[in-house]
C-alpha cells in the first residue's frame, strides 16, 4: 500500500511517498530531499502525533482558559483528548503548567494550563 504525505520539515514541502507492507511497516520512502524528510515520513506513517491546543470555559469567568498537551499526542487520541478538555472544569486559581487532565488514553500525555488564571 502506498501513502502520500507532505513533508513539513522546511518550506520545500517535498511530496513523500511511503510504501507500506501489509503489516503496516514502512518498506520504502520516496521523494524526500533529506534525511529529516525520511524520518518524518516514517514517524508520520507509524505513529503520527500532534500538539493539541484548545481553550475551555471557566465558570463565572469571561475569559476561557487556554490549554495544551505537554508533548505531542498520538493522532488517534485527539478526539478523546478534545472530549476530555470539553468535560474539564478547572478550579481556580490555575497556574501555567498545572496538569488539568493526566495521562490521556494511557498515552502518558497530560493536558496542562498555558495561562495563569486567578
Amino acid at each position: 500500500m502506498k501513502k502520500a504525505i507532505t513533508c513539513i520539515g522546511c518550506p520545500l514541502g517535498c511530496p513523500l511517498e511511503v510504501e507500506l507492507t501489509a503489516a503496516g511497516a514502512v518498506a520504502e520512502v520516496q521523494g524526500h530531499g533529506c534525511r529529516r524528510g525520511e524520518a518524518y515520513a516514517r514517524q508520520e506513517c507509524l505513529n503520527p502525533t500532534r500538539m493539541v491546543t484548545a481553550s475551555l470555559p471557566v465558570a463565572g469567568r469571561r475569559q476561557p482558559l487556554s490549554v495544551r498537551t505537554d508533548r505531542p499526542l498520538p493522532k488517534a487520541l485527539i478526539p478523546a483528548c478534545l472530549e476530555a478538555i470539553r468535560a474539564c472544569r478547572p478550579v481556580l486559581p490555575v497556574r501555567i503548567g498545572a496538569v488539568l487532565i493526566a495521562d490521556i488514553g494511557g498515552s502518558g500525555v497530560d493536558v496542562i494550563a498555558t495561562r495563569n488564571l486567578e
Binding site: 513539513i8 520539515g9 500532534r50 491546543t53 470555559p57 465558570a59 463565572g60 469571561r62
Partner: protein
C-alpha cells in the same frame, strides 16, 4: 392619536420633524431601520452645494441656494461640523472652459454669490496635488462640507428633546384615509394622525401612490464611493468636481469634516431599492476618475468603499407639498442631490405648510437645548484632563485610529436617540471609521453595547435586524450575563521622569525593557494600551513559540508569561490601559489612561514597539454588501480565544498566511465548518507544517490562485463568490462560484502601526513599511529606536525578542552616553534591496556596523528554488549563500561577520540579491 406622523428618519424627515416641534403638535417619526440616517443620509458626498448645478427655476435651485445660506447658522445651532471650504469645478481642456462659463452663468441666475473663474496657474496654486493638465476652474466660495449622519442624529435629538417621538425599526406598510384621519400601518401596529409627511426616500413613491392619483415614480440611483485615510487628508483643500461629460460623469473628490477624503459617486440606475452593494466596475470607475483629478492617489490610502442610493424622481426635481387629491398628506419626495443642502430651507417651508393646514399654535416656551457631545479627539489637553478627572472612562481609548473614548460611546448609547448597534455607535462617535475599520475596537464596542443595554453578547448587531456579530456569545456558563469586571490596570511607580519610554508592552516592548534594564537603565517605563502585558501573544494559544529562545515549543501566553515574569522580577514600571496618542520629534510623549489621566512625558529615548494591525476588507475593495460576518482573522482569534465566543458556523478564509491557517483549525475545533481557505497567490504564505496540520488534517481545501470577488448578504453574510485568478492575479471571467457561508475571515496582510512614528517625523522605508534604522535600530531622529512588528512584520516571535533586546540595549546606551550621536550624519551606508529581495532591515549602516556581527533581515519577493543569496559591498561580491528554497512567507536572516569585510568596508552600499541559475 398624533397630529403629524413623519415617515422616514433621513435628514429630510428629521429636519421636518424638528421644524414641526416648534408648533404645539403631537409628533411621531417612523423609521424602518434600527437607526435614523440609515439610507441616503449616511451614504452621500457630504457636500453643501453652492447651487450652480441645478436648473434655474427648479425647486432644486431655489432650495439649494436658500439652504446653503442657512447652513452655517443651522450647524452652529445644532453643534454639527460645517466647513466652508469652497468648491472647484475643473476643466481639463480649453474646449471645456465654455462649460465652466455656462455653469457660472447658471449659478448667477440661481443667485449663487462669489463665483469666479480661475486660470490654470491660480487653480494649481490653490491645489498643488491637482492634475497639472487642468485648464482652468470655477471657484464657488460658498461650497461647503458637513457630516450628514451627525447632522441627522442632531436634528432627531433636537426634535425629541422638544417633545417629538421617534420609533425606529418601524417599517410603514400602508397609509390610508380613515374619515378625517390618516391611518399608518407598520408590521404590528397602527397609528392615526391628522397629517402625514412622506419623507420615505426610495419608498416615497410607493406611499404616495397608495393615497394619490398623481403617481410618483422613484428610481434608485446607486452611487459608489471610496474613502481615503486621514493621513492623506491634507492633499486637497477644496471640493473638486470634474465637469459632467468628462470621464466618470460628476465624480468628485472632497475633504470631509473628519479629515479624510471622499471619492465618488457613480450614478447607475437600478430597480432594487435595498441593494447598496458595491461593484467591481463601479469602484474601478471611481478610482479612475479620481486619479484624473489626483494622479498621485496611492492605493494604500484607500481604507473603505461603500454605496448609497439616491431617490431619483422621474420629474428630475423635488416633489414637495400637499398632494392635491389627498389633503393632509404632504410629500417630500424625489429628494436627491442637492437634498442635503436644501434640507433646512425645504424643511422650514414644508413644516410651515403642515402647521398652517392644522392651524397649529407656535410653542411659546423656550426650546430645550440638545446636549452636544464632545469628542476626545477635538478636545484641548486641559479639557481632556478635566473630563478624565470627572469620569475616568474619558481616559479609556476604545477606537485607536479615531481616538474615541469609552465615555463617548456610553454617551452615544444613552443619548435621546441612542445608538443600539455597532454602526449606530460608529455614526455618532467615529469608532470603527478609521484606518483599521474596526479591527481593534468592534469587539470592545460590542461589549459596551451589551453591558449598557443589558443585551446578551450574541444579540449585539452591526445594524439591527439579523446583522448579529456572533453565532454564540461567551461560553463561560453564567459569564454572558456577568457584568464586565473592571480591568486590572497597573499604574507605574516611577519616582522621576523616565529616561526611556517604551511604547507597547507586547513581546518587543517587554524584551526591549528587560535588555535596557540589564544594560543599567533604571528609569524605564512601558506604556501598553491593552489591559495586560504580552500583546498579541495572549490570543495565540497554539504552539510554535520559543523554539529558538527557550528550545521548547510553547504557546503564545506561555512565551509572554516568561518575559512578563522576567520583567516583573526586575521591577520595571509599566502602565496598562494606557494609550500613547501623540509623539513629537523632540520625544514628547502624550499618553492617556483611565487611572493616570493625561500624561506628558519627555524621555531621552523612545523605543517604538507598537506592533502591527491587520489589513481590513475595506482596503482590499472586495465588492459586495457591507453585512455582518466579515472579520479579520486576528479579530476572530481574539473572539474565540480570549472572549470564548464563536463568530460564525460556516466559514471561508481568504489568505493562507499562518494566521489564516491557524484560524482554520481553530474554527473547526470550536465547532464551525471551514469550507475553504482561498489564496490569491499560487503558493501559500504559511509554514508547510501549518498547511499540513491545520488544513490537511481536517480535510480543508486550499484554493491557490483564487480570491473572493464578491460578498453577499443584506444583514449577515450569506455567501461569497470565489473566482480563479490568472498569472497577473486578474480574475478569470466566468470562473466564479458561490460558496454559501455566514463568516468570512480575512488574513490578507499585516500593516506596521507607524502612525506615531510618522507623526514624530521619522523617515520611513516604503519597502519594509517601518522606520528607517541603522544597525543599532536607531531611527532618523535622535533617541528613537524601533523593533518588532512596527519595524517590519516578523514570522517568529523569537526573532522579535532578539531584535527588541538590541533596541533596548541601544536605547540604554544612547541615554547613558554623554553626547549622543546625531543620527542622520552617521548613516552613510545604505543597505540596498537587490532583485528578489524586499525590505532589508537595517536600511542604513554606521561605520561601527562592520566591527561586529551584522544581522540583516528581509523577505524574498517570490518563491525561489536552488538559489543563491549574493551580498555585494560597493560592487564587490563578498558573500554567496546557497538556499534550497526561499519563500516570501519566511523572513531571511543574513549574518555578516567582520571577516567578510576583510577586503574593505562599503562606503556607499551593501546590496543583497537573489541569484537563480
Amino acid at each position: 392619536m398624533y397630529d403629524v406622523i413623519v415617515i422616514g428618519g433621513g435628514v429630510i424627515g428629521c429636519a421636518v420633524l424638528r421644524e414641526l416641534s416648534r408648533w404645539r403638535l403631537r409628533l411621531l417619526l417612523l423609521e424602518r431601520s434600527d437607526d435614523v440616517a440609515s439610507g441616503a443620509s449616511k451614504a452621500n458626498s457630504a457636500i453643501v452645494h453652492s447651487g450652480h448645478s441645478a436648473a434655474p427655476g427648479s425647486l432644486m435651485a431655489r432650495y439649494n441656494v436658500l439652504g446653503n445660506r442657512m447652513y452655517p447658522g443651522w450647524c452652529r445651532e445644532l453643534g454639527v461640523p460645517f466647513q466652508a471650504i469652497g468648491s472647484l469645478n475643473i476643466a481639463f481642456a480649453e474646449a471645456e472652459l465654455p462649460g465652466l462659463s455656462g455653469l457660472q452663468a447658471q449659478g448667477e441666475a440661481n443667485g449663487v454669490e462669489g463665483l469666479r473663474m480661475l486660470s490654470r496657474a491660480e487653480v494649481l496654486a490653490l491645489e498643488p496635488q491637482l492634475n497639472p493638465e487642468v485648464a482652468g476652474a470655477l471657484l464657488a466660495p460658498t461650497g461647503a462640507i458637513t457630516c450628514p449622519y451627525e447632522l441627522t442624529v442632531a436634528l432627531a435629538e433636537d426634535a425629541v428633546v422638544n417633545g417629538a417621538e421617534i420609533r425606529r425599526g418601524h417599517s410603514v406598510r400602508r397609509v390610508s384615509r380613515q374619515g378625517e384621519l390618516w391611518q399608518v400601518e407598520t408590521a404590528g401596529e397602527v397609528f392615526l394622525a391628522r397629517a402625514v409627511v412622506n419623507a420615505a426616500g426610495l419608498f416615497a413613491g410607493e406611499l404616495n401612490n397608495q393615497v394619490s392619483a398623481r403617481k410618483i415614480r422613484i428610481r434608485p440611483r446607486k452611487g459608489e464611493y471610496w474613502m481615503v485615510d486621514k493621513s492623506w487628508g491634507g492633499a486637497f483643500r477644496h471640493t473638486i468636481f470634474q465637469l459632467p461629460g468628462a470621464v466618470g460623469k460628476g465624480i468628485l473628490l472632497s475633504p470631509t469634516v473628519d479629515g479624510t477624503l471622499i471619492l465618488g459617486p457613480t450614478a447607475e440606475d437600478q430597480e432594487d431599492p435595498e441593494d447598496t452593494s458595491t461593484t467591481a466596475a463601479g469602484l474601478d470607475k471611481v478610482l479612475q476618475a479620481a486619479r484624473r483629478t489626483w494622479p498621485a492617489l496611492p492605493r494604500e490610502a484607500l481604507i473603505t468603499s461603500f454605496a448609497g442610493l439616491r431617490a431619483h424622481a422621474e420629474e428630475g426635481d423635488f416633489i414637495l407639498g400637499e398632494a392635491a387629491d389627498a389633503p393632509g398628506f404632504f410629500n417630500a419626495a424625489g429628494i436627491e442631490s442637492p437634498g442635503l443642502t436644501a434640507a433646512p430651507a425645504l424643511a422650514a417651508d414644508l413644516a410651515g405648510a403642515v402647521a398652517a393646514s392644522l392651524e397649529a399654535e407656535p410653542v411659546a416656551a423656550l426650546r430645550q437645548k440638545r446636549v452636544v457631545r464632545s469628542h476626545f479627539r477635538t478636545m484641548s489637553d486641559a479639557e481632556r484632563q478635566a473630563a478624565i478627572a470627572a469620569d475616568s472612562r474619558w481616559g479609556r481609548i476604545v477606537c485607536r485610529c479615531e481616538l474615541v473614548s469609552e465615555a463617548e460611546i456610553v454617551q452615544a448609547i444613552h443619548a435621546p436617540v441612542g445608538a443600539g448597534s455597532l454602526d449606530a455607535v460608529k455614526r455618532r462617535t467615529r469608532a470603527g471609521m478609521g484606518r483599521c475599520q474596526g479591527g481593534f475596537c468592534s469587539p470592545r464596542v460590542a461589549e459596551i453595547l451589551s453591558r449598557e443595554l443589558g443585551l446578551p453578547a450574541a444579540a449585539v448587531s452591526k445594524a439591527g435586524g439579523g446583522s448579529c456579530l456572533l453565532a454564540e456569545g461567551p461560553a463561560g456558563t453564567a459569564a454572558a450575563q456577568e457584568p464586565v469586571a473592571a480591568p486590572k490596570v497597573v499604574v507605574a511607580r516611577v519616582e522621576s521622569e523616565p529616561e526611556v519610554v517604551i511604547i507597547g508592552g507586547g513581546p518587543a516592548g517587554l524584551a526591549a525593557a528587560i535588555a535596557a534594564y540589564d544594560q543599567g537603565c533604571r528609569r524605564l517605563l512601558v506604556l501598553e494600551r491593552e489591559d495586560e502585558l504580552g500583546g498579541i501573544l495572549q490570543q495565540c494559544i497554539h504552539t510554535g513559540f520559543g523554539l529558538h529562545v527557550f528550545g521548547e515549543e510553547l504557546t503564545g501566553p506561555e512565551y509572554a508569561q516568561r518575559y512578563i515574569d522576567e520583567f516583573q522580577r526586575r521591577g520595571i514600571a509599566s502602565q496598562t490601559g494606557c494609550m500613547v496618542f501623540e509623539l513629537g520629534a523632540d520625544r514628547t510623549v502624550k499618553a492617556v489612561s483611565p487611572q493616570g489621566g493625561l500624561q506628558i512625558l519627555h524621555p531621552r529615548a523612545v523605543v517604538l514597539a507598537m506592533g502591527c494591525r491587520e489589513r481590513p476588507r475595506g482596503a482590499l475593495g472586495i465588492p459586495g454588501t457591507r453585512c455582518a460576518g466579515v472579520y479579520n482573522a486576528g479579530m476572530a482569534q481574539r473572539l474565540v480565544n480570549l472572549e470564548g465566543s464563536l463568530p460564525g458556523r460556516r466559514v471561508v478564509i481568504l489568505g493562507s498566511g499562518d494566521i489564516g491557517l491557524i484560524m482554520a483549525r481553530r474554527m473547526v475545533m470550536s465547532g464551525a465548518e471551514v469550507l475553504a481557505v482561498v489564496e490569491l497567490m499560487p503558493y501559500s504564505g504559511g509554514l508547510k507544517r501549518n498547511q499540513v496540520q491545520c488544513l490537511d488534517d481536517f480535510g480543508i481545501p486550499l484554493l491557490l490562485s483564487h480570491t473572493v470577488t464578491r460578498i453577499h448578504g443584506r444583514e449577515r453574510l450569506e455567501g461569497v463568490t470565489v473566482s480563479r485568478v490568472d498569472a497577473q492575479l486578474q480574475q478569470v471571467p466566468g470562473s466564479g462560484r458561490h460558496l454559501a457561508c455566514d463568516t468570512l475571515l480575512l488574513s490578507v496582510g499585516l500593516i506596521p502601526e507607524n502612525e506615531l512614528s510618522r507623526q514624530a517625523g521619522l523617515e520611513m522605508s516604503a519597502r519594509s513599511a517601518g522606520p528607517l534604522v541603522d544597525e543599532q535600530l536607531h531611527g532618523s531622529l535622535p533617541g528613537f529606536f524601533a523593533c518588532g512588528n512596527v519595524l517590519h512584520v516578523h514570522d517568529l516571535v523569537d526573532h522579535v525578542s532578539g531584535e527588541a533586546a538590541l533596541a533596548g540595549r541601544s536605547a540604554a546606551a544612547f541615554v547613558g552616553s554623554a553626547e549622543p550621536v546625531p543620527v542622520s550624519a552617521a548613516m552613510p551606508v545604505a543597505v540596498v534591496d537587490g532583485p528578489g529581495v524586499r525590505g532589508c532591515v537595517p536600511q542604513r549602516l554606521t561605520a561601527a556596523a562592520f566591527r561586529h556581527p551584522l544581522l540583516i533581515r528581509f523577505r524574498p519577493t517570490a518563491v525561489f528554488r536552488e538559489a543563491e543569496l549574493v551580498v555585494e559591498a560597493d560592487g564587490e561580491v563578498i558573500r554567496r549563500i546557497a538556499k534550497r528554497i526561499l519563500t516570501p512567507g519566511e523572513m531571511v536572516e543574513v549574518t555578516l561577520l567582520p571577516e567578510h569585510f576583510q577586503g574593505g568596508v562599503p562606503r556607499q552600499a551593501l546590496t543583497i540579491w537573489v541569484e537563480q541559475p
